[in-house]
């Protein structure tokens, strides 16, 4: 995925603007390329490994991670979350692109119109 596809901007990591302590693990995403829906879906999906706090800071969404286990490194958490965000962005994009066809398939499936009109069958 190229950044143009909506991947998170991985270069700029906020380092605790408004942070309570130095130990906080945060990652910033450019609001222009990553939508909140994808971040929220990602936070939900990684809930077994960490809880995620999402705040708006300037042009960024800043995500703060609270790992459930102490044996994961900060980098591991960040990679894990970035990968999840990438996938969620892709999922959202695919779902949006294919929504009309999906609706068509469901409409065809649940309508009684067969391929040959019913009275012939």
């Amino acid at each position: 995925m190229s950044p143009a596809d909506g991947a998170p901007r991985t270069g700029a990591e906020a380092t605790g603007a408004g942070a309570i302590g130095a130990a906080e693990i945060t990652l910033a995403f450019d609001q222009a390329t990553v939508n909140l829906d994808a971040l929220q879906r990602s936070a939900y999906a990684v809930a077994a490994e960490m809880t995620v706090d999402i705040r708006v800071s300037g042009a960024d969404y800043v995500c703060t991670f609270f790992p459930r286990k102490q044996d994961t490194t900060d980098d591991e958490l960040k990679h894990r979350f970035r990968a999840e965000v990438n996938d969620q962005i892709l999922r959202v994009r695919i779902a949006k692109e294919t929504e009309p066809l999906r609706n068509l398939v469901f409409a065809l499936a649940f309508s009684q119109t067969g391929l040959v009109e019913a009275e012939g069958a």
Partner: protein, 406 residues
């Protein structure tokens, strides 16, 4: 191997032959054989076959004399040399050449005006009989064994109608082939209705590319004929349009063919899917089997067929030929998927010696009697009788792995 065509000595004719299609009967079963001619005139459609100087019973429109001696030149058969002479016969006479010595009661033949060439249209003792309905086709398959010809051949339908009228009692199965029979919708529906009227118990196998059945109106007409035992044999060569359309040389064909199959199924019509295994289809056989299982699981059977190297397959040989020995893994993979899904699967036109032993139970001795032959090396083969042999029409293009099974 039977010859379906033979010369005849027409010197016993007084004028043009009264009809072009005749059913053969024997004097000994004459009583039972005058009936069952549909709307044909028995006096112009039952021919009496005489052997070994049999006396000719009166009342037939044509007499066939199957007398010949090996080495004897046709035309020099002397009148009265064996049995009655022409002048003593109660009607027009044709003396058949040695190729047609196999002719027997119940066979149906075509005889032209001048009587010089007799063609067998229905061989009563054969397992397979097919009637060609047209040579026109809207596909142009790379490996077509019957290359399409774009000319008026509507007489073929008329001839088929007569054959069906004359089918002997007990006739079981008939294939209707082309070309593409459904191109002539009215003629085909008329022929099927005729079939229902005069040969209701017949098992009919219609070979079609299925595209016309994409039209629901036509499919409803087809189903409305109400033949009790009819199956459409329709080729699907790939699980997606790109390859299928290329093989049949017609854009949009896959779409129409699959729609056609769905339409037939929705009206309760039996469908067989026919797959010719050639260079392009061999690698996608498993994918095609999966497609059938998922999308067309209702089909009555799937036939996986070896290539008959005749017609267009010959000039296109470098493009289409695949040695069966080289695609056994793909073939077995497809059979496994279809068989696991409970879809009846048959393998046609494959010699047992090149077929994976695991696939033998699916192999059908399918090559028509008049097209099959065995090679010299087949003489010592232990499964020769169970094997269909090779197509005489395939010439020298055969698997390089043919060998007798010990």
């Amino acid at each position: 191997m039977l010859k379906l065509m033979g010369r005849a000595d027409a010197s016993g004719l007084a004028g043009p032959v009264a009809n072009d299609v005749w059913r053969v009967c024997r004097p000994e079963d004459a009583d039972s054989d005058r009936s069952g001619v549909g709307d044909e005139d028995p006096a112009k459609s039952i021919a009496c076959l005489l052997r070994d100087g049999q006396a000719a019973p009166p009342g037939y429109g044509l007499y066939l004399m199957a007398e010949y001696e090996p080495g004897m030149r046709l035309g020099t058969l002397g009148a009265g040399s064996r049995g009655p002479g022409v002048s003593e016969m109660p009607g027009p006479v044709l003396r058949l050449g040695p190729e047609l010595a196999h002719l027997d009661a119940g066979d149906i033949i075509h005889v032209p005006d001048d009587g010089r060439l007799v063609t067998v249209l229905w061989k009563n003792s054969a397992r397979h009989n097919a009637l060609l309905l047209t040579e026109q086709c809207d596909n142009y398959c790379l490996m077509c064994s019957q290359p399409p010809k774009d000319r008026d051949d509507s007489w073929l339908f008329d001839r088929a109608r007569k054959v069906i009228s004359l089918l002997p009692v007990g006739a079981r199965a008939l294939s209707l082939t082309g070309g593409e029979p459904t191109l002539h919708a009215d003629a085909l529906i008329g022929l099927l209705e005729h079939c229902k009227r005069v040969a209701a118990g017949l098992s009919v196998h219609l070979l079609s590319n299925g595209r016309r059945f994409a039209d629901p109106v036509f499919t409803r007409r087809y189903a409305a004929v109400g033949l009790s035992d009819i199956m459409a044999g329709i080729p699907v060569y790939a699980p997606e349009p790109g390859l299928h359309d290329f093989i049949v040389q017609a854009a949009g064909a896959f779409d129409e063919t699959v729609h056609g199959i769905l339409n037939l199924a929705s009206l309760g019509q039996a469908v067989e899917i026919r797959v010719v295994v050639q260079r392009h289809t061999a690698p996608v056989l498993a994918g095609l089997a999966t497609f059938i299982v998922r999308n067309l699981p209702f089909v009555a059977q799937v036939a996986l067929m070896g290539l008959e190297m005749t017609g267009l397959a010959r000039p296109n040989s470098p493009l289409v030929w695949a040695d069966p020995a080289d695609y056994q893994r793909e073939l077995a993979g497809a059979v496994d998927i279809l068989a696991a899904a409970g879809i009846a699967t048959r393998i046609y036109n494959h010699q047992l010696c090149v077929l994976d032993r695991r696939l033998w139970p699916y192999a059908v001795r399918s090559i028509s009697d008049w097209k099959n032959d065995y090679l010299d090396i087949c003489g010592s083969c232990s499964v020769r009788d169970a094997c269909g042999g090779v197509f005489t029409t395939s010439g020298s293009r055969l698997s390089e792995q043919l060998r007798p099974v010990p």
